[in-house]
């Protein structure tokens, strides 16, 4: 956070190279967040650009009260969600999804080898597709938590959701993915 503060001050003092450095430091987070929400590379690229231009315009409003990544993440999340809502893409899972996921585990043979499955490109691709099919909020939260390795509190600040809701979404998303994996393994068996 110290380096971010130095860079922010440099940008505010008129150093354009410092802005490029800030972008480099946070573009991965913004990309993952925006791409997970919109799931379209071209749209995601344009939105990432919009996010950083907004960051540049509003930089004076950053009060150094939270981590800079949280502030940038919040802008990225807001812009991406607004885009999705404007395009009227579904944000929440269809009703009944949770009930389905509460069913007892599918009867899949327990002869499961982690390393073999992990090396199986087909299984991993299936899981990747299953992640893309999660509800928007859930797939964004699992990305922030597992890929960006942000803490629950920081994710809650970015998404403006209570900590408990974030945890609940994470739990349900992982459970859903495991169920999908089991279905896939059942098909393969």
């Amino acid at each position: 956070m110290g380096e971010d503060q130095t860079l922010v001050r440099a940008v505010l003092a008129g150093d354009s190279k410092a802005f490029a450095q800030l972008v480099e430091r946070h573009q991965r987070l913004v990309w993952h967040l925006v791409y997970r929400v919109v799931q379209h590379p071209e749209d995601a690229r344009e939105l990432c650009q919009e996010v950083f231009l907004r960051v540049h315009r509003c930089l004076r409003q950053y009060r150094f009260e939270s981590a800079f990544s949280t502030w940038v993440g919040r802008i990225a999340y807001t812009i991406a969600m607004r885009f999705v809502q404007k395009k009227r893409l579904p944000v929440e899972a269809p009703k009944g999804d949770d009930e389905e996921s509460n069913e007892p585990l599918a009867a899949v043979a327990d002869g499961f080898d982690l390393e073999t499955a992990c090396a199986d490109a087909e299984v991993m691709a299936h899981l990747g597709a299953a992640i893309s099919c999660l509800p928007t909020v859930q797939r964004t939260l699992v990305t922030l938590y597992h890929l960006e390795e942000l803490g629950i509190a920081e994710i809650a600040q970015i998404t403006d959701l209570p900590d408990g809701t974030v945890k609940s979404h994470l739990f349900r998303a992982r459970k859903q993915l495991k169920r999908q994996l089991e279905e896939r393994l059942g098909e393969l068996a």
Binding site: H32, A44, L53, L59, C118
Partner: protein, 151 residues
């Protein structure tokens, strides 16, 4: 322990195992969650172009330069409009002042004090100088656009 609690426990064990804090072997449920966690850590889709930050930096510089040019042009336009407005309105203002002189003795005395001074002012030279200074400032502001990145 109900089904949800079991799931939560498997998820916790899987996370701990993936972080290397425990070695929960031979539990297929935990292993499935570990596989899910590994999939979740895979990079997302295509990435941003390598020169994304540099391009954005250039875009910001260009945008600032355009904004400075627009500001300068607007200022210049307003100055010209004010000058033209004064020139156009001068005959009406002059007649108004004449009327005021007749109606307000105090105003007449004030205007009488400055009357000679106002007519002797080289208004055309002042207007020309003001426009020239505005033009020079505008050019300087644009030439210095690379370094001056106002936020």
């Amino acid at each position: 322990m109900n089904e949800l609690e079991k799931e939560a426990q498997w998820q916790r064990q899987a996370e701990q195992a993936e972080q290397g804090h425990s070695n929960a072997k031979d539990d297929p449920q935990v292993d499935r969650y570990r596989l899910v966690l590994r999939a979740l850590r895979q990079p997302v889709g295509p990435q941003l172009p390598a020169d994304f930050a540099a391009r954005l930096q250039q875009q910001v510089i260009d945008s600032n330069r355009r904004a400075a040019l627009e500001d300068g042009l607007v200022t210049l336009l307003m100055a010209i409009m004010v000058a033209v407005g004064l020139v156009v309105a001068y005959p009406y203002l002059a007649s108004l002042i004449d009327q005021l002189r007749g109606n307000l003795p105090v105003a007449e005395s004030l205007l009488g004090m400055t009357d000679g001074a106002l007519t002797n002012v080289p208004w055309k030279s002042i207007l020309g100088s003001a426009l020239a200074i505005a033009g020079v400032l505008l050019i300087e502001r644009n030439l210095g656009g690379d370094e001056q990145l106002s936020v």
